[in-house]
Every structure is written in C-alpha cells, then in structure tokens.
C-alpha cells in the first residue's frame, strides 16, 4: 500500500499556511494540526509522512517509534547540528530541512521534491534540483588519476561560474571526498568483502562495472555535485551518526565507521545533502549549494540532510 497521507504539525500559522499549500500540490491528503495531542487523534497505522517543526522533535520521535509506517520530516530555522543526533537515534527520521527563519517555510521545491518521492515517485535526477536549462558535466572515474582530473574539472567549472576561491576549494575537497568514498569504501567482491578500503593510498583501478560516476551541474544560482557508485552499501547510521561524530570533534571511532570526518566534510560543504541508497544497486550522494551565499552566512545556514534508503 503506497503513501497517500501527510500529517503536518506546525504551530506557526504563517508557515503552516504555506506548507499546506505546497503539500496540497502533491495530490496527497494533508492533515494539519497545531497541537501534538490533536495530531495523535488523527494518526493511524497506514503509511504516511509526518512533517513538523523541529520544536516538536520530541513528539516526532515518540510518534515515529509508535507508528512504524510513518516517515519523519522535520524543518528547522536553527542550526541543524543537534537534529543529527536525533536522526541517528530515531528510525525513519530521514529528512531534516533547513529554512531561512522562524516565519519562513522550507524551500518549496525541496519540500515538494522530498514528499513527491516519498509518495512513490522515482528519483527525478539532478534536473529537479536546478532550474531548467542548467549546464554541467558527467564523468566516470576508475582510478586516482581520473579522480584528480575530475576534482580539477570541478574547480574549473566553479571558476567559469566566477565562484570565490574558497568555494572552489571547498568543492574540490567535497568532490575528492565523495569520490574517495565511492572508489575505496564502496566496492566489494562477490562475497561482500571490501576490495579497496584497507589502503586508501593504493593506486587502484576499478573494473568498468565498479566505476564511480560524478556529475556536476549548475543553473547559475545553485551548484550540484553528485557522486554515485554501483554498490549501494552506505548505511543510514554512517550518514547521521558520522555527521554527529564529526561535529563532536572527529573523535576516532573505528567501530562505527571512522571519525565521521568524511561525512562532516559533506555536511559542512552542502546547503542540502541528499543520500540515496538502493542496496546492492547504487549509492548516490548529492550536494546542493546556493552560490550567492557568502561564507559567513553559509556557516550559520541551517543545513538540510536527507536519506532515501531502506537501512
């Protein structure tokens, strides 16, 4: 049975009105509430999406635990950092949306994109994240030489867009980080054993069917970098847990997948980070950046982190 219902828990009427209008455009039944107690009366066991302000994170956590068919989506006008820990420990709280201020709704295209996909839509590709008419490039990466060339390609792409040097370097680091994960951490042999993760300094050559794919595109206002691998092995805990660990100062924790520094890089370099995992088929990590944001604003910008996947 597919999802066809959206619950909205939002106390701010300004935000509520706008969110309801956007969500109505998904074609789903939208049930709104300003009071957690009232929300509980509406909930049933059918698959649905629960959208709420982060101020009600405790209610969202409780409701997600007691309703296994619900997927959680929370928006925040403050720093997203504390929500990462909540997401790590709350199953199905997979979508954290940053927004401009307390009276601002989340970005309409982002909200629509997420809910449409939750209601059963396929991944619409990078085009959905950019204005029509965007430009970009796509490369397959098999070895470190190609990786480095792609990283420099990203820098050149940023230079063409006249982006500040610091942002260029940030994207260079981000693309390098994403490609390293796709090339060294993702590949496994037929018995599921990691092939290359033991030595990240090794000069490897991926088989054609193992190759990582990088896409980089922009419409002049937003920049998107996406890297995918054909393995689909990125666990949910590595995403939210990794970021949370990274924020705690990069303490080394090998049991749970390293220090989280890699995830931290992705988190810090993205206005919106989207992780899509189809086990055994594909992992795709997409970073969206709003080009006109200066670094000072960007540091304090509430980030969005989304995880599509089963694990």
């Amino acid at each position: 049975m597919g999802m066809s219902r959206i619950y909205v828990l939002e106390r701010n009427k300004l935000v509520q009105r706008k969110v309801l209008r956007i969500l109505t455009c998904t074609g789903a039944e939208v049930i709104q509430s300003e009071d957690p107690a009232e929300l509980s009366r509406h909930l049933d066991s059918s698959p649905a999406v629960l959208c709420a302000d982060a101020v009600d994170i405790a209610t969202v956590s409780d409701v997600l635990q007691s309703h296994p068919m619900l997927r959680g989506l929370v928006w925040t006008a403050s720093k997203t950092d504390p929500l990462l820990g909540e997401a790590e420990h709350t199953e199905r709280l997979d979508f954290l949306l940053g927004r401009d201020g307390k009276d601002a709704a989340p970005r309409e295209w982002e909200l629509l994109y997420l809910v449409r996909r939750l209601l059963g839509g396929e991944s619409p590709g990078l085009g959905a994240l950019l204005a029509w008419g965007y430009t970009g490039f796509k490369e397959l990466v098999h070895n470190p030489t190609q990786r480095d060339a792609c990283v420099e390609g990203v820098v050149r792409f940023c230079q063409k867009l006249n982006m500040p040097g610091r942002v260029q370097e940030m994207f260079a680091e981000l693309s390098h980080e994403l490609l390293m994960n796709a090339m060294y951490d993702a590949p496994v042999d037929s018995s599921g054993r990691p092939k290359y993760s033991q030595d990240r300094k090794a000069q490897i050559t991926l088989e054609p069917e193992e190759a990582a794919t990088i896409r980089c595109a922009s419409d002049g206002m937003r920049m998107v970098i996406s890297v995918s691998d054909p393995f689909g092995r990125l666990p949910r805990r590595a995403v939210f847990g990794g970021m949370a660990r990274g924020l705690r100062g990069g303490e080394m924790d090998q049991r749970n997948g390293g220090a989280g520094l890699g995830m931290m890089y992705i988190y810090r370099a993205s206005a919106i980070a989207i992780f899509e995992v189809m086990p055994g088929v594909r992992t795709q990590v997409t970073s969206v950046y709003e080009i006109d944001t200066n670094q000072r604003e960007f540091r304090n910008l509430p980030r969005s982190v989304h995880f599509f996947g089963d694990r």
Partner: protein, 751 residues
C-alpha cells in the same frame, strides 16, 4: 619520480614540504594539498627540538589527510619540546576547530583571516598575529577594513563564533626569543618587538661570557654593555636575529670601545651578523671570531640550514674568501655554502683566533649554564618571559636593564626605524628593512640628519620638525620615502615629502595672526593628527593601520605638492640633492628589491619670500567688502580634492557675505564656475550680480571648511527696467490709448 616533482614533493606531487633548519629549530613549510598522499609519519622522522610549521599555502585537506596529519603531530610531539604554527590558512583554522588534537600541544602564532569585498566581489586574506590580537580574538570580532582596490569596507567573511573557537581557547602565546629570532632572521616573518628586543645574559668567572639574543639595531646599548668589561670576553651571537645598518654601526663602535680594554672573541655569529659586521673596522684591534655560520642548501635533498664554521679549522680556505665544503646533515652530500659574493668577501677580514683551549671550554660551560634554565622551562611546557634574566651561579642578568633601555628608546622615538622593519602582509609593500645593496655613499647632510634623528630620538611623523634648517640664506628641507618597489616612485614620494615640508615651514613662519587663523590653523592640526596617527600605528605595530595611515599621509602630501605646482605663479623648482638606498630582502622564498629615497631641497630665502607673497597678500574686494587670499597648498591636508579657491580673510560690516561666511572659509566655485583666486572671485561674482539684476536670484558660492561644505550667498533683487506707467485719470473711464485725454508719464522714483 615524476618529472615535475621536486625533491621535497610527495608522491602525488600535490604537496610540497620544504625544510629550513637552524640549530635546534626546524621549520616545515607545507604547500598544496594534504590528502592520502601525505605521509605524516615519514615526514615526522628527524623532526626534533623546536618545530615551526608554516601552513600559509595549504589549499586543501581531505578527511584522510587529517588522519595522516594527526599521526604526524603525534609523532613530532614525541621528539620536540615546542611546536608553533604560523600563517595558518583559514582552511587550517577550520581543522583546528573541527578536529580534536589537530595541533597537539602546538601554539598558533599567526593566521590568515578571510576577508571579502562585496563591491569588488573579491576574497582576500589578512594576516593576524595572535599575540597582538588577543583582545580581538577573545571578543571574537575582527573589524572591517577598507578594501585595497575600491576603499569600501571589506568584512571578515566567516562566522566569528565558529572561526575563533580554537583560537579563543588557546592560552596567551609568548614566543621564545630564539624562535622569534629564527622567524625574523631566517624566515623574514614578522614577530613582535617584545620578542625581538635584545637581551644580554652574562657569566663572569675566569673570563666574561655574554650571550646576546634579539636584534641588533640602533638601540644597541653599546655603552651599557661595555661597562665593566675587562680581560677576555667571549660573546655568543647564536641567538642574534637581524642586524641592520645602524645596528652594524653601533656594533662597530661597541667593538672598538671594548677592544681597548679587553680581548674579545665572537662565537657562533649568524649569517646576517657576518654580512653586516665582518668589516675590517669591526674586526680591527683585539676582536677575533671563533666560529660563525654560513648558509647552506643541499643540492641533492633540498635541506636548507646554516652550517657552523670553526674559523681556526678552516682559516686556510676562508682567508681566500671561499667557502669550506659541508656535509649535508640529512643525506651526507658534500657541497659548499650558498653564501653570496659579498658574504664571502667579508671572510677575508678574519684573523686566526688565538683563544686558549681553556677559554673555549669556559665559553661552552657558560653557555650551557645560561641555556639550561630555558630548556628546562620549555620541557616543563612554559616559555621564559623575554625580559626575565636567569640568575644561576654567577650569571648576571642584564636583560632587564637592556629591556628597559630598549623599551625606553622604542617608546621615546626612533619610530621611523621601527617602521622600517614593519611587515605584515606579504603583498603590501612596507619598509621591511632588508640589506642595503646599493653602493651610494651617504652624503654629509644625510649622515648629520641621521645622527640627529638618533640622538634626539624623534618620533616618526613628528620627525619633520627635524627636516628643516636655515643656513647661509637658504632653507634646507629633507623629505624621505618609505620603501617602494619602484625606484621612481620612491624618489617621487621623497620629493613630495620635501616640497610639502617646505610649504608647511613657510606657512609656519608667517607671523600675521589673521593669516595664521585663516590658513595655518585650518590644516595644521589635521596635518599633525595624521602624522601622529601614523606614528601611533607604527608604535602599536598595527600593520594594517600603519598602511592605511601611511597612505593617507602620502595622498595628502601629493595633494599639497600638486596644489603648489598647479596654483603658484612664483613656484620655481628648487635645487635638490638625492640619496637613495637599494634594499634586498627576503619575502617568503623570493628576494625582492626595494628603494628608499631622501631628497634635500635648498631654497634661497628670497625665493621663498617671493613664493609666499602670492599667498599672504590679501585682495580686498571693495564691492563685496571682503578680503580674500589665494588658496594655500597646505590646505590640501584638509581639502584633498581641491587645488584652488579663495580663502576668506575678513568680512567687513555691511558686506552681503557677513552672515554666510567667516574667516577661513574656502570659496571654491560660484555658479559652478571655479574660483581660481581672489581676482577670479571678483570677476565671477560681479558678472553673476549683473546677470541676476535682470531677473533676481541668489549669488551662490560653494564654501568649504574642514568640517562642512555648503552653498553660501545672498539674494540679488531684480532691478526693474524703467517702463512707462499708464495713469488713467478719473472721469474718463473706459478711455484707452494715448489720446489727448490720457497722459503717458514715466515713473519718477523721486515722486
């Protein structure tokens, strides 16, 4: 090895690590990307003593690179007693904030703050010295600064709370003097004055041992240091940083003074000292050199450091001004010093030292005695305060005395020389000291000026009081430039400074009270303020403020001289003498050339009087009942966009300007026509009044004062043309025209 790899480059060629070693101190400079190709542990091998890590050019760092980096830091911590990070790029500051233990127990001495000018859409970075910016760091706030290109404010482009997290938590940093000397002497980094002040520690036993640490400059306390010296004296110079020209002169005087009473042996002289001081004069008499250092770079592995030379051991080679061969301490390759020809030439002044074995052993013991407390303190995790003298055994600390003397000298003046050593951002041209490579002989007037500057300890900015003298019916003025990259620019700046000084001298010589009020007092205070600002910025060692203040002073001087040349009918180019210095200095890895100029003008008093006559004789405009003066060039200090005008000297009762202008106001335009002097004012205003009489209106002039700019003037009534008036007489209503019953009469104002 890939073709583009230098010996210091990692396997991927993305990171270059260069090494500079001097005794116990090593500097590693990282350039490029720290990622999986960075082999932290292998680079850490061989690092010991004090490590300085230069991170200015780290562009990227990956998460795996961070792991390698943390391993590198863990490894070097085991073998070093101090780690300092200098010129950390914003990227690196991010890592300090994000990653626990990124810097181990190392201290950040300086970092680059990212700045942005939205108007130019440009990102820049500005170097911040931690010890000088503790308040700003604790308050987590860096001020806006004017953009170098457009002048609009550019802002600190980071979230201060995030950016300063680590820096604000770092304990106050005091740089070990030896490290400060290394930074200043070997890397040409700016370090605080406190860290560079000369200190002297003395051990008196069977002979006297003095250990000097810091810079040798004009403040060198030669008399204090020579007091009470007798017998054999060994002076250790291993911790001496920069030696400038004036320091070299002071040193020569000191050695000549001391060698009258004592036999002096110099040991471990640094290359900078050798270059400046190994002259025949300084080594004359009873001064001998036991050992010194020569610069060395291994042609094979790239190791860079100074090599110690025992004079006696190598004398047969040195006397021919040639370098001994050295073994590279890293790879063993044999090669000569990379010392310059000038350096090698100085070696021919050496004589074979005659020190006894017992004296050399005493010097070793005394040196150990002085160094041990410092080393122990460093092992314990703290640094000896710069001015604190260790008192062990018979070690007598002169440090406090010297520090007081030096600080008095610094506070009291000689700011110009301090300024000449200032350096903050590499891209900005400062007077950075450096080595004089020009062979120009100092002319007597320059020597005398320099001597007086030193003796009177006149502060920079106020030093211009010294720059004027009158002798033999001539006025002499001296102007000097800061170091500039272009020779022509330096010369032009010096000439402008001299001309401006002449202008101000002439103004200040005027006795007329009204003139002084209307002209001199309008700008003199501002002139003094700007020069004081510059002096204060120099003394505070605020590089950015110095640069800004210097630019303002420069701009105003240019404006003054331009106004002089544009406006004065009596201006004749004075005779001049020029002296210049060509300087070579190290900036990062490259050598740069700078020029400093001094221009001395000689103006006959009669010529000066003729020049001033144009400006001091008022023109009385009878019709307006005002007295005006020609625009005086000195006013460009307060009106940098004006080169002409008429200065109001007096306004008589009954003047139409009585209510709108006051003495000192500068009338610049009238009806948008420029007023080039009092005569032009009269001409323009008279024409304007004639015109306004036909229709009425206001005579308006743009009047400026240092504080405001406004339109002033007065109304001119329309003067009616005499016209015929029709008088209709009673009893003849309805009659028109000029018939016999109507009389046309003209208005008669007397009726």
């Amino acid at each position: 090895m890939a073709p583009d790899e230098s010996p210091e480059t990692g396997p991927g060629g993305k990171l270059k690590v260069t090494k500079i070693v001097e005794g116990d101190i090593m500097c590693l400079r990282f350039i490029g990307t720290i990622d999986e190709d960075f082999h932290g542990k292998s680079i850490a091998e061989g690092v010991k003593g004090t490590l300085i890590v230069d991170l200015a050019e780290v562009k990227r760092i990956s998460s795996f690179g961070i792991r390698e980096w943390v391993d590198f830091i863990k490894a070097v911590e085991q073998n070093t007693h101090s780690i300092y990070f200098i010129e950390c790029s914003p990227k690196i500051i991010d890592q300090f904030n994000m990653v626990a233990n990124f810097g181990g127990r190392g201290k950040i001495l300086s970092f680059y703050a990212p700045y942005r000018c939205d108007y130019c859409d440009d990102d820049r970075r500005r170097l911040v010295q931690v010890d000088e910016s503790q308040e700003l760091i604790k308050n987590m706030s860096l001020p806006d600064v004017p953009c170098d290109s457009c002048g609009n404010p550019e802002y600190f482009d980071e979230d201060p709370t995030s950016f300063f997290t680590y820096l604000a938590s770092q304990d106050a940093v005091e740089t070990d003097p030896a490290v400060a000397n290394f930074l200043a002497a070997k890397l040409d980094y700016r370090v605080s004055d406190a860290a560079r002040r000369l200190r002297a520690d003395k051990v008196v036993e069977e002979a006297t041992f003095i250990r000097l640490a810091g810079d040798i400059d004009i403040n060198f306390p030669r008399e204090k240091l020579s007091e009470g010296l007798e017998g054999e004296v060994v002076i250790d110079l291993s911790a001496v940083g920069r030696v400038d020209d004036e320091g070299a002169v002071e040193w020569t005087a000191f050695s000549q003074l001391v060698s009258r009473e004592c036999k002096v042996y110099l040991r471990d002289c640094q290359p900078g000292f050798v270059e400046k001081v190994f002259t025949a004069d300084a080594l004359a008499g009873r001064v001998e050199v036991l050992s010194f250092f020569m610069p060395f770079k291994c042609p094979s592995c790239g190791y860079s450091g100074a090599q110690r030379v025992e004079t006696l051991e190598h004398y047969d080679v040195l006397k021919f001004a040639t370098s001994p061969e050295f073994n590279c301490p890293e790879c063993g390759t044999v090669g000569p010093s990379i010392a310059s020809e000038e350096f090698l030439a100085t070696l021919s002044n050496l004589v074979p030292p005659t020190a006894s074995k017992a004296l050399i052993e005493f010097a070793e013991r005394a040196n150990d005695k002085l160094l041990k407390p410092a080393a122990a303190a460093q092992q314990a995790g703290y640094v000896l305060p710069v001015a604190a003298a260790p008192a062990t055994g018979r070690a007598v600390g002169l440090a406090t005395v010297v520090a007081v003397l030096v600080s008095l000298a610094v506070v009291g003046g000689v700011g110009w020389w301090i300024y000449s050593r200032l350096k903050t951002e590499k891209d900005i041209i400062y007077d950075e000291g450096g080595r004089i490579v020009s062979k120009e002989k100092k002319p007597p007037w320059f020597v005398s000026w320099e001597k007086t500057l030193s003796e009177k300890k006149i502060e920079f900015g106020l030093a211009d009081e010294l720059n004027v003298s009158t002798e033999g019916g001539k006025i002499y003025v001296i102007g000097y430039s800061f170091a500039a990259a272009e020779r022509e620019e330096a010369e032009a700046r010096a000439r402008e400074a001299a001309l401006e000084r002449l202008v101000h001298h002439l103004a200040d010589s005027m006795k007329d009270r009204l003139w002084r009020q209307a002209v001199l007092e309008q700008y003199a205070q501002e002139r003094r303020r700007l020069l004081r600002d510059l002096a204060a910025a120099v003394q505070k060692k605020d590089g950015l403020a110095t640069n800004r203040a210097r630019k303002v002073v420069w701009d105003r001087r240019i404006a003054v001289t331009s106004a002089l040349q544009a406006g004065s009918r009596a201006f004749k180019k004075p005779a001049e003498e020029v002296y210049f210095q060509q300087l070579e200095l190290q900036q990062g890895s490259s050598r740069v050339t700078r020029y400093r100029f001094w221009v001395r003008l000689a103006v006959p008093v009669a010529e000066a009087a003729k020049l001033m006559a144009q400006y001091v004789e008022p023109v009385k405009i009878e019709s307006q009942k005002v007295s005006l003066l020609d625009f005086f060039p000195g006013l460009a200090w307060v009106y940098d966009d004006v080169k002409h005008g008429a200065i109001v000297l007096g306004v008589e009762d009954g003047s139409p300007w009585k209510d709108s202008v006051t003495p000192g106001n500068l009338l610049v335009t009238c009806a948008e026509i420029p007023i080039k002097g009092p005569d032009k004012f009269k001409e323009v205003v008279d024409e304007r009044i004639d015109f306004l009489k036909t229709k009425g209106g206001k005579v308006e002039c743009l009047s400026k004062s240092p504080r405001e700019s406004r339109q002033v003037g007065y109304a001119v009534a329309k003067v009616e043309e005499p016209r015929p008036r029709v008088i209709t007489r009673p009893g003849t209503p309805g009659m028109t025209g000029t018939g016999p019953s109507n009389v046309n009469t003209w208005d008669d104002p007397t009726q």
